[in-house]
Structures are given as structure tokens and as C-alpha cells.
């Protein structure tokens, strides 16, 4: 499933965030953008990788998660076929920012079944921006980085004409359908784009031929974006996005999701004027609401039936932009404030007794206000220095008496306040014309999450413990170092990254043998606690090699290690992995072979109930053909994933649920009036 992606390798390119800016001649590797829409490519990318991107084809069947999974620094935690949680260089959940167009959004599930990525479809995305720890705090204090999904705008290319694309696909393993439609219409100063997506997946089959029960899902996604040009330089934009998922199986969890909905609304004011000192900026006000209902009614032999609804509401405002001080100095800035409300409860039913009700996320609110500033100096054509900083004031509190009564059992119910500081220094130096060194040193902080502070007997199906929050946990404080070398010749490029983070006050679950577990069959209770530190380090390598203008190979390696203060391994560390793509692309046609190799993972955390995971080797093949039909572009794509029908699971998969076996897919995309 994860490998279900065509040309993402050509998308998966190390592009600088700043690459589009004329004053930047050195690539900054701390941020990557995965482009998902063709239209903006030519306008925004001016690096040697432009050629690769320009012929990139993207696969609209692929979910955002599948695209992210191809990045060497991103690993995905699977709890089922849906709701796959991204991690950046081991950091996850509260340690990273997950944003949609710069907006904060919080999942409404206490079990992290709904990371923000599920509420977005590639069809309404312009790009996905991944920043690691060194720059990732610019959008919000974080120690692990940022994943920002930028929504696609309506375009003004064809006045008074409806343009768009229809996309349809089928996959054999899960007998899944994918249908999407995007329409665009522009009239003078107005432009509107609407998109709709429908996905239906049945249970997929693993490599052993067995049906993996509770791996089905069904969803729709709608978005409308309307923009109005105030003048040539600025416009107002209204984005409305609604995502509804239902009957979503979570094979690795004791229950599924009956309904998961997200409503996201934002109003933005954008300005672009290259003549001004602040040459682009945007201001946005937004609100979003996520509702999540778990469902155990389809599970056999459940000891007790329960309802588990959750809700998250976030509102915020921000202004961000880029400015140039002179030809050599550039700044980016952001000021933002946001407020997030969370509540989740659980009601258990047993005949002849009153319902058993409890708040699993006692009603709580986190308010945040912060500002960031980064400054880049191009010293000469070979040296660039960047300094970035951010400060946040964060306040978290319980908002109802009922919530306070719950948490009072474990102690502190007072308001928690924290002032978070983040700063980084990056230096990029070209040593020869072909070799570039990048190094960065940064310090960042993050507050505990609502789960870590207020979690009330949250069952973790991975280690089998009930987790209880601690209100006065200390914020995690991380010091990180990053070193990368980039070697480029002709159209080819090899990049090797080394990173190291030491996280003080690292938050883990510690067994509390005095408490009895709430969940029937649980192993016990763990309290979220600070340990003195944890160390996380790893290596990543990416290469793009053109064997001929029509023959390209892309390869990535990743290796991560994470240990606690007692030198014990932390759980969910991805093993050494390599993915390699060989792609042949004459005109109008492409064919590619992909290999995916993961080493076995034996450095495991027994404290978290982990077991070792075997190595695996996967082979995928894909072909595609583009042509014109009545002057309209049409794309036909097909492929076979997991050709050898390998029965395997990844180390980061909960419950050792096997992944998809051999899967054949067919996809058709039809552009009209373009």
C-alpha cells in the first residue's frame, strides 16, 4: 500500500523551500516540498532538479500518506489500512507539527487514529512541505519538524471556461475504487475550484492470501476554494473543505471507526509584489472541527460494548511572509495565535447496570501565541548563513468542573503555562563546484500534548497498557545537530545526511504497578513521565542518477536509532531501509521497476512489548501512457505491487498485521478543456 505510487520518485526531490527565490543559489536541505499539482512547477522551481520535476507524473490514487512514506526522513506508523501516522526522523505526534496550509488541526481520536493527513486528498493539495527539526519550528514550536499540506488554489489560466480532470482507479487486493473530479472556473477577477473524491476499500488480502479483517474503509472528500483578485498583486481566498470517512477498520486495534468527519474553513489575504521589501505575505483566519466516533459493534467477542466519541475544535489566525533586506539578506516571519479544544469520552454498556461513563480526554483547551523570524545571509556565491528563531507562549487548562474532577484523582488541575524558545543556525558552504556541505545546530522545545497531560485511562493496543496523563509534565527540550553533504554533477545528485538529537525531559510511559488497569485484559497502567533524556540519531542518503536522458534511477536509504537515558532502545524505530526506482521514459510512455528493502529490526524495546521484525524485499512495477483524445489529455496507468506476493509486515506496524499482498491497479485520468 505504502509503495503504491508511481512517479513519486521524480517528485521526491530535494528542493529548497527557498529555491524559488532568485537570491538563493545554495540549496537548503532542511525542507522538502513534494509537488502534487503540475501547474505550478515551472513558475516556482529554478533548481537543477527542475528537469526531473517537469516530467514528473503523479498518481492520484496514492494517498498523502503513501506519498510521504517515500521521503527518507518520514516513517509511517500503521494501525490499519487507514489513518496512517507520519513520523519525522522518529519524532511523532506532539513532537511534530501537522498543518494544513499553515493551519493547526488536531485529531479527535485519543488513539491517534486520525492524523491530519487523512482529511486531505492529493487532489486538493498543491504540495506537501516537510521540514525537519532545524527549521520545523518556524510554524509552531516543535522538536521534530513540520508537515505542512498546502491546499491547491483555483487558477486564472482560462477565463470563462470550465476546466478540470476526472480520475478513476481500481485496485485488486482491496477491491478498491477511487473516483475524483476537480473543476476550475475563472471569470475576470474571480476564480473557483471544486473537487470531490470518493474512495471505497474492502478488506485487503495479505501475501499469504488471507483476507485481513477490519482493513476496509470508505470516504468522501469535498473542497471548494474561491478567490478574488483585489488587484494584480493581491487576492482574497476562501477555502472550505469537508472530509467524511465511515466504516473504517483498524485491524491492529480492538475497535474500528464508525464515523470520522472534518470541516475546515479559512479566509486568507495574500499578496505578492516583488518590488516591495516584503515581497509576499499572507494573513489567514481559520477554524476547523473534527469529530470521531469509534465503533466496536462489528467485532466478535468483545467483553463489553462501548461508545467512544471525540471532538476537536481549533481556531486561529496568522500572518506570515517573506522579505528582502538587500540582495544578500532575506527574512521570513510569522506571527500566530491558536486555540484548540478537545474532549473525548467513553461510555460502556452492560445489561442491568447503569452506563459507565468517563472522560478519556477531559475537556481541555490549549491556547498559544507565538512569533518566528528567520534571517538568511548569502555571504558570497559559496556561503550562506541562516538564523531562525521562535518563541511561543502556551497555556493549557481543563475547562469544566467534570473534567477537573476526573483529573483531580491523579493530582494537579491547575492551569499550565509555558514559554517555549526555539533557535537554529544553519551554514551552507560550497567547497568545490560540485560539493556542498550543510550543517545546522538548533535548540527547540515543545509542550506536552493533551493526551500526555490529561489522558484518562487511554488504552494503547501496541503495548497493552492503559495510559494516564500527568498535568505538570515538563516540556521536552531538544538540542539537535545536522550535517549533510550534497554532491552534484550534470543532472545527478547524491546527498547524505547525518542527524543527532538529544531530547531532555523526554516523555515516556512508565509502568505504575500500584494502579489497576481499567481496560479489560490490559497489562497494567502506565503514567506519562519525563525521563532525563533520550538520544535519537540516524543517517539518510538520497541519489538521483540519470543513466541517459530517458533512463533515471532514484534511490533512498534511511537508518534511525533511538535510546533512552539508560541506553535502552525506544520503540518504533524503523530499521535500515532502501527504496530504489529504475525508470525508463521515452515520450508519452514510462515504465518503472521499484524495489523496497527493509533490514530486520532486532534492536527493540521489550518494555513496550515490542518484538523483532523480519527483513523483507518487495518488487513493484508500473507503466503509464499519455495521449490526446479530442484535444484533451488522457493518462492511463497500471502496475503490480508486491509482485512476489510477499507476506510481510513493517516494524512500525501495530499488532504485526500483515501488509497487502500482490496488488494490481489500473488508473485513468482525463483532463478536459486544458
Amino acid at each position: 500500500m505504502k509503495s503504491f505510487l508511481f512517479s513519486c520518485f521524480s517528485i521526491l526531490l530535494v528542493i529548497s523551500v527557498n529555491a524559488q527565490e532568485p537570491i538563493n543559489t545554495i540549496e537548503n536541505d532542511s525542507s522538502k516540498i513534494i509537488l502534487l499539482q503540475n501547474v505550478d512547477v515551472k513558475a516556482t522551481i529554478k533548481t537543477p532538479t527542475q528537469q526531473l520535476i517537469n516530467f514528473c507524473k503523479y498518481n492520484n490514487i496514492a494517498t498523502v500518506e503513501e506519498i510521504l512514506a517515500r521521503l527518507p526522513e518520514v516513517s509511517m506508523i500503521h494501525r490499519g489500512a487507514y489513518g496512517i501516522e507520519p513520523t519525522i526522523r522518529y519524532f511523532n505526534a506532539g513532537q511534530i507539527n501537522m498543518q494544513i496550509d499553515g493551519m493547526k488541526i488536531h485529531g479527535a481520536c485519543t488513539d491517534k487514529m486520525d492524523p491530519a493527513t487523512i482529511y486531505i486528498e492529493p487532489i486538493n493539495l498543491e504540495n506537501v512541505q516537510v521540514q525537519n527539526a532545524n527549521q520545523g519550528f518556524l510554524n509552531g514550536s516543535s522538536i521534530g519538524g513540520t508537515i505542512n499540506m498546502k491546499l491547491a488554489d483555483a487558477n486564472y489560466l482560462y477565463n470563462n471556461k470550465i476546466t478540470g480532470a476526472i480520475n478513476s482507479g481500481y485496485q485488486t487486493s482491496a477491491k478498491s475504487f477511487y473516483e475524483s473530479l476537480r473543476l476550475n472556473y475563472a471569470l475576470q477577477n474571480w476564480a473557483i475550484a471544486a473537487s470531490g473524491t470518493y474512495r471505497k476499500n474492502h478488506n485487503y488480502k495479505s501475501g499469504s492470501g488471507k483476507e485481513v479483517l477490519f482493513s476496509q474503509y470508505e470516504k468522501t472528500n469535498f473542497s471548494i476554494t474561491t478567490s478574488y483578485k483585489i488587484n494584480q498583486k493581491s487576492k482574497i481566498k476562501l477555502d472550505i473543505l469537508a472530509d467524511d470517512g465511515w466504516n473504517i477498520g483498524y485491524a491492529a486495534l480492538p475497535m474500528d471507526v464508525g464515523k470520522a468527519t472534518a470541516k475546515i474553513i479559512s479566509l486568507s489575504l495574500l499578496s505578492n509584489n516583488n518590488l516591495k521589501r516584503i515581497y509576499n505575505w499572507q494573513a489567514k483566519i481559520y477554524t476547523n472541527k473534527v469529530i470521531h466516533f469509534m465503533d466496536d459493534t462489528k467485532r466478535p467477542n468483545i467483553p463489553i460494548h462501548m461508545d467512544m466519541p471525540g471532538v476537536s475544535k481549533t481556531s486561529g489566525i496568522f500572518i506570515e511572509g517573506n522579505g528582502k533586506i538587500n540582495k544578500k539578506q532575506k527574512i521570513t516571519f510569522r506571527v500566530d495565535a491558536a486555540s484548540t479544544f478537545l474532549q473525548a469520552s467513553m461510555t460502556m454498556y452492560q445489561t442491568g447496570q447503569p452506563p459507565m461513563y468517563m472522560l478519556t480526554w477531559p475537556d481541555n483547551k490549549k491556547n498559544q501565541i507565538g512569533a518566528s523570524l528567520s534571517w538568511a545571509l548569502q555571504v558570497d556565491s559559496t556561503l550562506k548563513v541562516s538564523i531562525a528563531s521562535r518563541a511561543d507562549f502556551v497555556k493549557a487548562n481543563l475547562v469544566t468542573n467534570d473534567a477537573k474532577n476526573h483529573v483531580s484523582i491523579f493530582g494537579d488541575t491547575t492551569i499550565q503555562k509555558d514559554f517555549l524558545k526555539n533557535a537554529s543556525v544553519s551554514i551552507s558552504k560550497k567547497i568545490f563546484n560540485k560539493l556542498q556541505l550543510n550543517t545546522a545546530l538548533s535548540y527547540s522545545e515543545r509542550t506536552p500534548t493533551a493526551t500526555e497531560m490529561y489522558g484518562f485511562y487511554l488504552f494503547n493496543a501496541s503495548d497493552g497498557y492503559d495510559y494516564i496523563g500527568k498535568t505538570n509534565l515538563l516540556s521536552e527540550k531538544s538540542l539537535q545537530f545536522d550535517l549533510s553533504t550534497l554532491y552534484k554533477w550534470k543532472q545527478n545528485k547524491i546527498q547524505i545526511n547525518y542527524y543527532f538529537s538529544k531530547v531532555n525531559n523526554f516523555i515516556v510511559g512508565k509502568i505504575n504497578s500500584l494502579f489497576s488497569s481499567m481496560t479489560i485484559g490490559a497489562n497494567g497502567v502506565k503514567n506519562f513521565s519525563n525521563i532525563s533524556f533520550a538520544k535519537i540519531w540516524g543517517l539518510e542518503a538520497t541519489s538521483f542518477v540519470n543513466l541517459s536522458p530517458k533512463f533515471i534511477t532514484v534511490s533512498t536509504f534511511r537508518y534511525t536509532n533511538a535510546k533512552d537515558n539508560n541506553n535502552m532502545h525506544l520503540p518504533f524505530v524503523s530499521p535500515l531501509k532502501n527504496t530504489t526506482t529504475l525508470r525508463y521514459q521515452p515520450n508519452h510512455f514510462f515504465a518503472q521497476l521499484e524495489t523496497e528493502i527493509a533490514a530486520s529490526q532486532n534492536t527493540i524495546s521489550k518494555n513496550y512489548g515490542e518484538d523483532a521484525t523480519a527483513s523483507y524485499f518487495l518488487l513493484h512495477s508500473r507503466i503509464g501512457y499519455n495521449t490526446k483524445l479530442y484535444k484533451n489529455n488522457i493518462e492511463l496507468q497500471a502496475g503490480v505491487e508486491n509482485i512476489f506476493n510477499k507476506n510481510y509486515h513493517d516494524h512500525l506496524d501495530w499488532g504485526n498485521i500483515p501488509r497487502m499482498g500482490r496488488n494490481i491497479y489500473l488508473q485513468l485520468k482525463f483532463y478536459f478543456n486544458n
Binding site: P354, I369, N405, F456, F515
Partner: protein
Amino acid sequence: MKKLIITLVLPIFLFALIITPSCKKNNGDEPIIVDDIDPTAGLTKQHEGYAIGAATKIAVYTKSATITTGYNKFYLSLTDSVTGKRVEDAHIMLMPMMDMGAMQHTSPTENPASEMAVNKLFPCAVVFMMPTSASGTWTVEYTVHNHVSNKEGKIKMLVNVIEPTISKQKMFTALHNGEKYLVSLIDPSTPKVGINDMEIAIFKRASMMSFPADSSLSVVLTPEMPSMGHGSPNNVNPAHVGKGHYKGKVNFTMTGMWKLNLDYKSGAAVADTTQFFDVQF
């Protein structure tokens, strides 16, 4: 441009001010003026009558609508039948009696602690060990010495005691001395998820006519949710605070049916390990 930036940044701070709840004064701290308030407001009048000789009317109030088996707090309102004025200085004694025809017995009683009224009423308590039934009826005799008129008299009133759906009154025979002990659950009276006050009262049966308060036992509290098989953390064992009352804390992690297991010890000797109260909410 600068002006534009300011006009855009300003709303962010304004927004932050809105989302940051201001330091509200807690209205609950304001003193309540009691003079004009009826002291019996919110209480239920169970019965009333005249204590012959004392020239005093007694009205008996309770917080609950009915009188049930277990610990019942009474609030006595006294009125001088000559002056019609409220009496706030009196000596009152209670004598409950179960009349079963062939035999009679009293039950644990807490007379008003002071001869001065508290908030114009005289709080006192009676533990009814069993409900009113065809085989026996409860009466409570009040002996009143009205200090205002310096007159003394008595009145006996019939009490209808109802057995609640979940019992709040238990009795056990101690293993270490063979004596009978009566235990009443007083709190939690309105249970909630969170920390709850826990209060029990223990009386020893010295004879059919004497039930003194007992302070000799130590109590271990273990809450349990039988249908789920789990307990709750950070409870505080009830400890003696005076007059046979033991106070502690009980924590409920969810609503539903809870069982409060109580083990009793006298020093190192085990008195009983079988007792429990059910709590449902």
C-alpha cells in the same frame, strides 16, 4: 506597508486576548447573607408535633425526601408555642425505638451536639437498622428542655423508615471479640467521577438499648467495579475523626456500579473482611 502589517498583527493579539480567559472573580466566594433566608429551605419536613410540657413545637426536617434504613441526619426546628418565636437555645435528646411486639430495641443516635442552634436549626442523627414493616414500627421520642421558657416536655412521633434500593447500612460480628458492629455509609451521598468524600459511622451494639459510637477500628477501603474487574487509584482509607465517624476519600474513574470493599481491624487483629457498600450513579 508597515501600517498594513500593524493592522494585520493587531487582530492577532486581540484574538489572543479573547481566547485567553481573563482572571474572573469566583462568585462562589461571596458571603451569603443568611438572616432573611428560611433555614429550612430545600429541606423536607417529615413530621411535627408539640412537646407536651415544654410548650414547644418540634418540626423534623431531612435533606432527602424520605427516611431510609441507615444514617439519617435530622434538622429540628423549634418554635415556642406561647410566643410563636423560633427557639434557638434548647437541650434536646432523641430516643428511637423499634417496637416488634415481643421485643423492643433502640438504635444508634446522635443528639444535637450543642444546646445552641446551628443556622437556627438543631442537627442530630439517627441510624435506623431496619425498615418499618408489618412486624415492627419505629418511633422517635424527643425530650426538649426549652431554655428560653425553661420548660421541659416530651413527644413521641411515628417514623416510616423505607429500605433503599441500595443498602447503606451493614452489620457484622467481629472476629476478634465476637461483638456486633453497625456501619453506616454517610458519604459519598452524591457520587461523581473524581475524588469523593468518604464517611462512615461505626456503632457497637452493647445491648438492645445501648449503641455507643466506636473509635477502636481501623478501616481499609478498596473500591472495585465488579463488572469491569478494576479498582481506582489514590483512595484514602477512612480514619476516625470523632464520635464513631471515619473520614477518607474514594475515587471513581467512571460512572456505573461500584463496590466499596471495607476491611476492619482492631489493632493487628482482623475484625472483618467481608463487608462492602454498593454505590451506583
